[in-house]
């Protein structure tokens, strides 16, 4: 144990922001752990098997995610998957490593990102002002996920429902990101 007694408390990136512009909601999801899994060269099959065994997940295709009762997997690059699951402690990486048993290279990404869940009737209109992707339900159905840029910030977007999305962006610019998302809602809400 450290000689000096001090309680190191974790703080959500945006202090657990939860705001309601109009009848909509923008909420920080600090209960989610993010772990990236790189697929070793030639190790696609082994990883797919480990992912199914350890997490009950299939390897998602491009712009898609796969979901099980324990986690969601988003395809982020040809050789990379992002696992998203509920966990608050700093041990997410170890959990994934144990489950994959060496079938993938893992990196804890929980603290590198801020996650905002946005929902409400003005959400499609607000995202038109923010997200360059075509989010029309046929083009971007529930479960679709993609990397993009919003207001100059790298971002990931995942559709959770008709008017419900998970937005991920860099944690260092989280305040600017929240401001951009909130401004989009304020610009369109009735």
């Amino acid at each position: 144990m450290a000689e000096f007694a001090f309680t190191l408390a974790a703080a959500p990136t945006l202090g657990g922001a939860d705001i309601a512009p109009g009848g909509n909601r923008i909420a920080e999801r600090d209960d989610l752990a993010l772990v990236s899994v790189a697929i070793p060269l030639g190790g696609d099959r082994a990883l797919a098997a480990a992912l199914r065994k350890g997490w009950g997940l299939a390897v998602p295709g491009p712009r898609l995610s796969a979901v099980s009762d324990r986690a969601r997997a988003i395809r982020t690059a040809p050789d990379q998957i992002m696992l998203v699951f509920a966990r608050s402690g700093p041990d997410a990486n170890a959990t994934v490593q144990a489950a994959l048993a060496g079938a993938g290279y893992t990196t804890d990404q929980t603290d590198a990102w801020v996650a905002l869940e946005v929902s409400g009737p003005d959400t499609p209109a607000a995202l038109e002002r923010l997200c360059p992707l075509d989010l029309q339900p046929d083009a971007f159905p529930e479960g679709a996920a993609a990397r993009t840029v919003m207001e100059h910030m790298g971002a990931m977007i995942l559709r959770l429902g008709a008017d419900r999305f998970l937005l991920l962006s860099a944690s260092s610019s989280a305040r600017s990101f929240l401001h951009a998302v909130e401004t989009s809602y304020r610009h369109v809400m009735r």
């Binding site: 450290a2 007694a5 190191l8 030639g42 290279y105 603290d111 100059h152 610019s173």
Partner: protein
Amino acid sequence: MSQPNRIEGGLIDRGRRIDFRWNGRRLTGHPGDTLASALLANGIRLVGRSFKYHRPRGIFSAGSEEPNALVQLREGAAREPNTRATTAELFDGLVATSQNHRGPLEWDLMAANDLLSPFLSAGFYYKTFMWPRAFWERLYEPVIRASAGLGRLSGQPDPDAYDHGFLHCDLLIIGAGPAGLAAALAAGRAGARVILADEDFRPGGRLGAETYEVAGRPGADWAVAAAAELAGLANVRVMARTTVYGAYDHGIYGALERRTDHLADSGGKPRQVLWRVYSKRALLTAGATERSIAFGNNDRPGVMLAGAVRAYVNRFGVAPGRKVAVFTNNDDGLRTANDLRARGVEVTRVIDARAGDVVVDTRGRKGLHTVFLNNERHVEADCLAVSGGWSPNVHLTCHHRGRPEWREDIAGFVPGGGLPPGLSVAGAANGTMTLGAALREGHETAAALARDLGAAGAAGAAPEARDEPFAASAFFHVAETRRRAWVDLQNDVTAKDVRQSHREGFRAVEHLKRYTTLGMATDQGKTANMLGLAIMAEASGKTIPETGTTIYRPPYTPVAIGAFAGRARGRDFRPFRLTPSHDWAKENGADFVETGLWLRAQWFRRPGERGWRDSVDREVEMTRASVGICDVTTLGKIDIQGRDAAEFLNRVYANAFLKLAVGKVRYGLMLREDGVAYDDGTTARLGETHFVMTTTTANAVTVFRNLEFARQCLWPDLDVHLISTTDGWAQFAVAGPNSRALLQRVVDDLDLSNAAFRFMACTACTVFGGTPARLFRISFSGELAYEIAVPARYGDAMIRGLMAAGEAFGAVPYGTEALGVMRIEKGHAAGNELNGQTTAAMLGLGAMVSKKKDAIGSKLSERPEMTREDDLRLVGFRPVDRSVILTAGAHFLTAGDPADMAHDQGWMTSVAWSPGLGHSVGLGFLRRGQDRIGETVRAYSPVRNQDVLVEVCRPHHVDPEGVRQRG
């Protein structure tokens, strides 16, 4: 008396009255009016002064092609100059003023320019203001700028908000006139995703202005019904008040939507939205623009396009005059006369050029009263409706440099080749000038496009309408007129100017445009270009197609700079990146500096300190004496994993990395392909297949991008994977003789003694009772130093914990300035030295470039010019007179040499005040520097007026043997 020229009919809401102000006068109008129609209803014909000659000008058109009626809207900071009265929708409380005059509009003092017109013709400025040269900037230009020009900006920040947005569709239809509506109905019914955009606030285009019938009902009613049907289709988006202003690559179009310009109060919502529209196909149904005829004094208030006269009468219920004459070269003239008579407006004469009758001159200083014909007769008229034929709106078809083609039968240019890929054209924009044909073409083109796009539904039948008589003649100007005949009303270009341009050798259309400024005003010559071309063709004895056209470029109509900026203004200009200790730093007196997007603490102000130097000196002294803590989260961190990760690093760093042991850190230097050094940093080996690379803050993205390129494109056979972890870890440098003692109190059960955890060691560990962390023993300051990282969510708590644990040692936080001072004292290169021109040899790191392996840039770094012994070398400097403060940027000269570039010996890259040494210290590049240690040279800075003698020394001003960092 209110609205004396308001007549029966029109598509306005007479049940509601709108109050507005024009040049201070209270006037009224109705919903559905534009500012122009309301002014005409109130009998106001004079609305502005011309650009150059300050001639009285009135309303010329009824649309976005308006060259004359440019006004200022709103007041105070919200004032917007150069707005077309013909497109400004009237709202309650609108305040509008005329522009470009001194004194009242009716008695403009600058109108004297008109008397000087013989001297102000084309090329006047080019010829006149050449001499003396110095007068241009100081005298001529300010005077010309003050007298010419249009409206005035408020000079205050724009109080309105603007936004950007992104739209996607199968088919973008540009223009909601008859062809556009028919097209949208066809594609929409078939099931395609359609966006229909129109600049007007009312759908239908010319249908609102004419008395045509469509599908057995008045055209204007049909347009409203069509728009209503479209609004009911979930796959169709109708966007009114939206101008598609440009065609860009890959089916992307720019569109400006005016969201609140027609409202008295925006309610805090963005005034305008600039949309980027991604389309699979696009259909241009932008209609056509009527043009004038050049005859003597054809610019008086009251001279108006015939189609505009019909629009005011039919759509707005306004008589633009009480005695109207018509001058035409086509069948539109008769239609105008009929429409006017049907509303009880007197038509004094129809002058048809095809019958040999032409207008040669007009009278009426502030408003037309008499029209003179070629046969010595004259006609009384307070309004002259002129129709010189219609020019298809081909503008967007030219945005990829396509050139329009001449069609003799309509005497106009139609879309030629080179259209933006995916763009089709239908209706009048395509030269299909009659209603029935335009409806059919719009319908059929869109139905075919929808089928191509896989929309399988039934497009239905094309709406039926008769084809009105249409016969155009190529008659553009009245040759026998002796008075000035205006071609470009907005830039005051006359037929004489065009002929003069030809005489003086500016005969190519592009030269004509630049020499006379024809078509270069805010209307881009929508009503003027054809006339200018025709007169030039006549002067040169060529045909119009031989003469050619100038090119159209975006935007179709002016777009406010605010709309292009969108939200990106003020503090929202770009995002900010904050370190995890940002809030703590703010609480503790930090001054922040922008480094890229990051805000970093540059020093921490303490009570009693008189300036930044006091703070920085204290931070350096305390760190070197005991211990200091600095947030270094901003350094790029890249997680590198894979079986071949070590091999990969060995190929991207100039120095060897293959044999770096697990638990060790190594300093690495990266070269560009051309052998120039571009980034440095440390890389730690955390496991057999796991490394963490750090980069400089500035180059974090560049390095990551280059590594991805190398991994994916150069060596796809290597098993190596990258992901950025910059934001994931809060990282703090803990430096100074007491850093070990401090950290020993923080980390859990880890022996930090020199024997157990040596210089350049690294390990994963835990801190404060179990929180995961990483510890690196590296030093940028030259002191005994470490860097400790915790997951970012603990960053705020960690800085508080470190400071609390360090209290016993008098630990201080230090900022980027103290960091800079200590690295200069230690002789470490940073951004000033790694400036993209320096080689490893110049940095004194030549030996690091391994000869035993191949790495990016290593071969080219061996080029003779890169390894010259007499090249610049990084060395240290101190002033001979220790009391002198050195300045960065000074150039070195050998004592006795003249101060010129031929004798330049290098330059001072970085300087700092060393509080420990008590004098200025510097780093710099000096020719053959390695052989000149101990020499004295001049540091010469004419910019800062400094010329001092400095002593050349080794770059390491402090602890050159490195005892401290290894102790």
